[in-house]
Subunit: 124 residues, 2 copies
């Protein structure tokens, strides 16, 4: 059998890439931005208030990452004063729906997790 020396690096790159995308959609601000944009499109300052407690820089970085991945559409309107709207692409909507389901599942199970933690911490 021929040994394909390129196989391992390719698999590895695939895994790293897949991991990176998973991190973008499950990051602290990624989750909140995706869920907010499920409701409707937002302007930057509106989105910042909606997400809460995020710095301008972090929100801009998060949006840029999600835009680069093809999840978020950035629409800069040629008006004065400048207006930029952010919305989900169809791919981003798929991502956001999955993240929304996962966070809802986590929230629905928080009591069970808290009970498990108390039991674990109370062991002799």
């Amino acid at each position: 059998m021929e040994v394909r020396t390129t196989e391992v690096p390719d698999v590895d790159r695939f895994c790293r890439f897949s991991r990176a995308v998973l991190e973008h959609v499950t990051s602290r601000w990624g989750v909140l931005v995706l869920i907010a944009l499920l409701e409707r499109s937002y302007r930057f300052s509106e989105l910042r208030r909606r997400v809460g407690d995020v710095s301008e820089k972090m929100l801009a970085q998060t949006l840029q990452t999600l835009e680069r991945d093809g999840f978020v559409h950035r629409d800069a309107k040629p008006v004065i004063p400048p207006r930029v709207d952010y919305s989900l692409t169809p791919l981003g909507r798929e991502a956001a729906e999955r993240i929304w389901e996962l966070t809802r599942w986590v929230e629905a199970r928080l009591d069970q997790v808290a009970t498990a933690q108390e039991s674990y911490d109370g062991r002799p």
Copy 2:
């Protein structure tokens, strides 16, 4: 209307807790451990080989976090040499199935993400 001054801190704690649990199940090794344990129970050393490229310390920490959350069951058998099996609890199976679906979705969309990134990076 009465102002409930405890409301904000409570919501905040709920959010932090929810966020922490989400991080446990979407962490680099958390994802791989949950997916591996969907197949079957594993001994520590087997699991380490299955997950690949994880240090003993990181795997032990990941398992401990997932056990404390009530996702993983640790079964230390009173035999010589000592034998410890790790398996999913019913709650952990729910988490693992959701994470598995999310990672499958990410992997199915990697080509679209790569195309979006190339287009973004190639802009003037």
